[in-house]
């Protein structure tokens, strides 16, 4: 046993204090508020109300976030795979230059851009019409669940790609060449040889993206209508319109649970790998 060091404790005290004040206290407060009634005492009333009013929105949120995560994975793998296995130098260099831009654009700006891009008479439809791909009458607005997913994916793909391309660049290049040498096409090499070696990084990127998208308020508020909408919008609405912190906190706890479930999947996978290694 090493002696607990008082000096060491002092060194980490500021960090601990920050976690306590900015995370643990609000978390405890919202948990208490979610599970108690004003008179005091444990109650699930707020959860009943939250599920009663917003069960569709909870499912909608799950659908949006899971779909966006899967699409983000797909696009990130495609881009990082092209960067790693591509053989067209100009394509690789332009892709490398372009893919990171959305990283530097905040969600709220991205949402605003998407409003003008995806609207019925927005840039996207106008371009399609101008190119003759689509008749003006066929133009529909994408400012609904599709708009949210497009914005999320557009915003999160660069982040996951950045992590994934870095991981792919650091695997032994000879393992890729060994695959191609034995007769595997580049797509097979990507799926069977490269991806399994970077699966851990992909998983981390997707878990972080999932949690980020779960907590974004601006995009569902600005891009889509109000029915159905995401839980963040409902929480804001409960607080701003009714001062109903208790239901908002109950919804918050459900969000924690969803994020916690994803984190659990990640941790379990991690532990499995460590045991296997």
């Amino acid at each position: 046993m090493t002696r607990p060091s008082f000096f060491g404790l002092i060194l980490i005290a500021p960090a601990l204090a920050m976690i306590a004040a900015l995370f643990l206290y609000p978390l405890g407060f919202s948990l208490t508020s979610a599970f108690t009634v004003p008179g005091g005492g444990f109650s699930l009333t707020h959860f009943e109300k939250a599920i009663d009013l917003y069960s569709t929105d909870i499912l909608f949120t799950l659908f949006i976030v899971i779909t966006s995560t899967l699409l983000t994975a797909l696009f990130s793998i495609a881009i990082a795979g092209t960067l790693t296995l591509g053989e067209t130098p100009w394509l690789i260099s332009s892709l490398r230059f372009l893919y990171r831009w959305p990283l530097f654009i905040p969600f709220i700006v991205a949402a605003q851009c998407m409003r003008t891009f995806l609207a019925k008479n927005g840039l996207m439809n106008n371009s399609f019409v101008a190119m003759g791909i689509m008749e003006p009458l066929q133009a529909t607005s994408f400012l609904d669940w599709r708009g949210i997913i497009i914005t999320f994916v557009w915003k999160q793909v660069p982040f996951v790609t950045l992590m994934l391309a870095g991981a792919m660049a650091s695997i032994d290049r000879a393992t890729i060449e060994a695959g191609r040498n034995l007769g595997a096409s580049r797509l097979r090499v990507l799926i069977e040889i490269v991806l399994p070696q970077v699966a851990q990084t992909l998983l981390v990127g997707l878990v972080l993206s999932f949690v980020t998208m779960l907590s974004v308020l601006s995009v569902p508020m600005m891009v889509a209508g109000s029915q159905p909408t995401m839980m963040t919008v409902d929480m804001a609405f409960r607080i701003n319109s009714y001062g109903d912190y208790a239901t908002a906190n109950a919804l918050g706890v459900i969000s924690y649970a969803i994020a916690g479930a994803v984190a659990w999947i990640y941790l379990r996978h991690n532990v499995k790998r460590e045991i296997a290694a």
Binding site: D172, A174, T175, E177, A178, G179, R180, N181, L182, G183, A184, S185, R188, E192, I193, P196, Q197, A199, A276, A277
Partner: protein, 363 residues
């Protein structure tokens, strides 16, 4: 042109560049089926580039590569049907031994049971029986490279490329694997191209040695030919004849007279270039004699012993001749500072006219 269609590998004036930097300047090489070729050279000479271009990982800017008559120069690596071993083993860490060795068969659509049987046969051949379900990360270096060899041989390739596969292994395993690869090659009859910077490895494994220098082939020949009759100062010093000494050769009667600064002249009747020449020789051709000895066909350089070691079996001396030092081995015991003669038999020296050596690229 003119390489027979039956050649396993026929390379015609191959040029390769990395950007603006030219790495291979017109390489011509023909490898017969079943032949074991070693490409030897110092780092940066282009030997690995040549191998990678044959495999298809590096694009040729000019020239042709034909495998059994089939032009592959613009073919992607997966279509060339060769197998390769890498310096870093390049095993897939997420797969078991079975997964690694059987991958090539899986790509060729072989049924699962059949893969298992064939992998078992190969593992038996490589003394790895029973390791099918072991993770490759749990194997030793020697076992890993054996698995890599098994993976390459599983597809029964006609051509095996070896990119310094033994250089990461410790000395004992290296020797063992060296003879294993060689005997497998004899048994299975594949054509092998082995890139290495290890002279002994090349000499013991290959039927023919290709010495490369600065993106060109300096000499091709059997190990004995290249070792005993290097065609240039570069090849001579690369093959170990790193000591040099200036001689002056003039015709005298039926033969020649060989004069050396600070040494005794000698006459000889061997075929040698005339005029000022530089002799390249290995330590082991020199022997000790009396300082005033005169022996036809050998030059004697008088000097003094400055160092004596006993590595076992014989003594090793350092002999100072003027301001130069040569290492020589001898069975007899000599005191330090003894006056001796360093005897160099002319037949064992590699002689090159001094004029042509100037500006040559020495290793």
């Amino acid at each position: 042109m003119g390489a027979p269609v039956s050649a396993a590998i026929a390379i015609d004036s191959l040029h390769v560049s990395y950007g603006n930097q030219r790495v291979l300047h017109g390489v011509d090489l023909t490898v017969a089926p079943g032949e074991f070729i070693a490409i030897l050279g110092s780092s940066g000479c282009g030997k690995t580039t040549l191998l990678r271009t044959i495999a298809g990982f590096q694009k040729a800017s000019q020239g042709a590569i034909r495998l059994f008559g089939r032009d592959v120069v613009n073919m992607p690596p997966e279509k060339r049907g060769m197998a390769m071993m890498f310096q870093s083993y390049a095993l897939w860490p997420h797969m078991t031994v079975l997964g690694n060795v059987g991958y090539g068969l899986r790509l060729r659509g072989v049924a699962k049971d059949e893969i298992r049987t064939r992998v078992a046969t190969i593992l038996k051949m490589l003394n790895l029986s029973g390791l099918e379900d072991r993770k490759v990360t749990n194997l030793s270096g020697g076992q890993r490279q054996r698995v890599a060899l098994g993976r390459a041989l599983a597809i029964e390739p006609e051509i095996l490329l070896l990119d310094e596969p033994l250089s990461n292994l410790d000395a004992k395993v290296r020797l063992q694997l060296r003879s294993e690869i060689k005997s497998l090659q004899n048994r299975l009859g594949f054509t092998a191209v082995h890139v290495t910077h290890d002279r002994e490895e090349a000499m013991t494994m290959a039927d023919r040695i290709v010495v490369m220098d600065a993106g060109k082939i300096a000499q091709i020949g059997s190990p004995k030919e290249v070792f005993d009759h290097p065609n240039s100062p570069f090849v001579a010093s690369f093959m170990g004849a790193e000591n040099t000494i200036g001689l002056d050769i003039r015709t005298s009667g039926a033969g020649v007279e060989v004069a050396v600064a600070h040494g005794n002249p000698t006459s000889w009747d061997g075929a040698v270039p005339l005029g000022p020449v530089t002799a390249y020789f290995r330590d082991d051709v020199a022997s000790l004699d009396g300082p005033d000895a005169r022996i036809d066909g050998s030059i004697i350089l008088p000097g003094r012993i400055t160092q004596r070691t006993y590595p076992g079996g014989h003594y090793r001396y350092v002999v100072a001749i003027n301001d130069r030092h040569f290492t020589v081995t001898d069975d007899h015991y000599h005191e330090l500072d003894d006056a001796v003669g360093l005897r160099l038999p002319l037949a064992s020296l590699h002689l090159f006219p001094t004029d042509t050596i100037k500006g040559e690229n020495h290793a």
